[in-house]
């Protein structure tokens, strides 16, 4: 009896979520949302788990939030999975994170339909040469499997640093200018650099929302170029493994209010 009630309540909760998402989808929806998935370790410490368990639960949350974004038709989701600086962490933790990344990417490769159902193209962005060779191989395999998908984009930033991305973009823009023979009068613009960013090269739209969980209020070298203009930034106190639809709803409502306010201003000017 109790099991039946539990199943029924879970079903009811799922239907309620779907109704809420359908209502939200009636308004403006962000094209690109980025998440700094912070707080896995503090979550684990709070619950008395090992750090690796915190990261594993964080991955479950990632799947849940991805599902929500896909139901809302968010075109692109970016997640900060691993910073270049994170290699400074204890070896045991870094190895566990690499193993988790490999395990999940293998799962994606073996059950490709998970992303194919929603037409998601997977990109792993960052200084991937720093990853262990076996992780690099599985990254390449996972990216190749989803390359033909074009309905949505999932960017996994690992190992990543925004200053590194901007530097590589400047480097590429300079080389392009030199190859084009612009001579002593190079005409490198902001747009030229933007086009060379890793997120732009994989077709990501402009960033509308950036969310950082766990209460930390800094960007930690994530998507600096992309988020410094016209991006709403939300610092949420919830730890990432606990982040859910109820934390997400106010963020979406804020975005919608911004878009409607912009539309009203445009109409007034006309």
């Amino acid at each position: 009896m109790f099991a039946f009630l539990q199943t029924w309540l879970s079903w009811l909760w799922l239907q309620l979520q779907n109704v809420i998402l359908a209502v939200l989808a009636a308004g403006p929806i962000p094209r690109h949302i980025a998440f700094v998935m912070d707080g896995n370790r503090r979550y684990a410490r709070q619950k008395g788990y090992k750090v690796q368990v915190g990261h594993a639960e964080g991955f479950t949350t990632l799947q849940k939030i991805l599902g929500i974004c896909l139901k809302l038709n968010v075109r692109c989701v970016s997640v900060y999975a691993f910073a270049i600086n994170n290699f400074k962490r204890p070896k045991e933790e870094v190895d566990a994170l690499m193993a988790l990344a490999e395990e999940k990417l293998v799962k994606i490769c073996e059950h490709g339909e998970l992303l194919d159902e929603y037409g998601v193209r997977l990109n792993v962005l960052g200084d991937t040469a720093l990853l262990p060779a076996h992780v690099q191989d599985i990254v390449t395999k996972a990216e190749n499997m989803t390359r033909q998908n074009d309905k949505a984009i999932l960017n996994i930033h690992m190992p990543y640093a925004s200053r590194h991305e901007i530097t590589m973009a400047v480097q590429a823009a300079v080389n392009k200018s030199l190859d084009a023979g612009e001579g002593d009068d190079p005409q490198i613009t902001e747009q030229d650099i933007e086009d060379q960013l890793m997120t732009s090269r994989v077709g990501s739209p402009p960033l509308d929302i950036l969310v950082r969980t766990s209460g930390v209020k800094r960007l930690s070298d994530y998507l600096l170029w992309q988020c410094c203009e016209n991006t709403q930034i939300h610092f949420v106190d919830t730890y990432w493994p606990d982040f859910g639809l109820w934390d997400f709803i106010p963020i979406l409502l804020e975005f919608q209010q911004k878009i409607w306010a912009q539309e009203r201003t445009t109409k007034k000017k006309l």
Partner: protein
């Protein structure tokens, strides 16, 4: 249609909820510590983004901006913050840098034994004006030099990069170096006015400079691909703009609504990599002003500044660990 109607109801409930929370916050929140209170941590380099909305009258905004920068300069001086960068998204402060020079004055409580020396103004690059206020700090604090002056490693890096650029050091760098050297005051407060031209356009300018430099170093018979490191670009941007990375940035809306998500309004992105960010809330005294005179623009207030310092003093940097 039904979904859209339900969505409007959601938004209505959300606005009411935000209004109540905002009201309760202004009425019930504990006041921040006084400015002179002990705090574990102060930012060495503080930034302030003064948000000027589209609908705001530019002349009214200018007065409020000037008042905000004057307030911030005095309070920074009082707590020993020696490096202040102020940004507004429309570049109003930059256009009125002469007015800023006239407006910013020392604290009225400054003792006569710490005289205010002449303000020096210097243009570093389009989009940045730097005012050096040479008044002595009331308490000793670290002298923050934005130009690398210490150590063999720094000198070697500078020399190597200058060779790579095959350019003379910019006037800004030379002037800045001379300015620091010539300052008679040990702990001057540096105020930088920053506008959108020093944001992404500065990075594009740095790219043009690098391309020009590479072009002049024609390597034959094989053309080597240009390579750039993060440290090198960091050095160029900090040298060219005179703006080092910020420890803490305060975002202040001069016409605050009940609830608005944080945005950075085009602030130079490179300098925000590890910056703590704080948005000023609507304080109790400001709520009263807004209710009695809805058209009033609110300058950066002392309560909000103190609250920002309280927040910063609680932060913890992990550097990836």
């Amino acid at each position: 249609m039904l979904s859209l109607l339900t969505l409007y109801i959601f938004h209505g409930i959300y606005r009411i909820y935000n209004g109540v929370i905002s009201f309760l916050y202004t009425q019930l929140s504990a006041p921040p510590k006084p400015l002179s209170a002990h705090r574990e941590l102060f930012p060495a380099h503080l930034g302030i983004i003064l948000v000027v909305d589209e609908e705001i009258d530019v002349e009214a905004a200018t007065d409020t901006l000037l008042q905000s920068i004057d307030n911030a300069a005095v309070w920074c001086h009082e707590v020993g913050i020696l490096d202040l960068t102020v940004y507004d998204s429309k570049g109003i402060l930059m256009k009125n840098s002469a007015s800023v020079r006239k407006t910013v004055k020392p604290s009225r409580n400054l003792s006569s034994s710490y005289p205010l020396n002449t303000l020096r103004s210097m243009r570093i690059s389009p989009g940045i004006a730097r005012l050096r206020l040479d008044f002595a700090a009331m308490r000793s604090s670290q002298n923050t030099s934005w130009f690398p002056t210490g150590g063999r490693k720094e000198v070697t890096k500078k020399h190597h990069l200058q060779q790579k650029l095959q350019a003379e050091p910019t006037n800004a760098v030379v002037d800045g170096h001379q300015n620091i050297g010539s300052s008679s005051c040990p702990n001057p407060l540096t105020i930088r006015l920053v506008s959108p031209t020093s944001s992404k356009p500065a990075i594009a300018s740095a790219a043009c400079l690098l391309a020009r430099s590479q072009q002049s170093q024609k390597v034959t018979p094989v053309k080597h691909k240009f390579q750039l490191s993060t440290d090198e670009l960091d050095y160029i941007l900090e040298s060219q703009t005179g703006v080092p990375s910020l420890d803490f940035i305060v975002v202040h809306h001069m016409d605050p609504p009940c609830q608005r998500a944080l945005e950075l309004h085009g602030f130079p992105p490179w300098h925000l990599a590890v910056t703590e960010i704080f948005v000023t809330p609507l304080e109790r005294d400001h709520t009263w002003k807004k209710r009695s005179m809805p058209a009033t623009l609110l300058p950066l207030g002392k309560q909000a500044f103190c609250r920002a310092l309280d927040e910063y003093s609680k932060t913890e940097t992990r550097n990836g660990k």
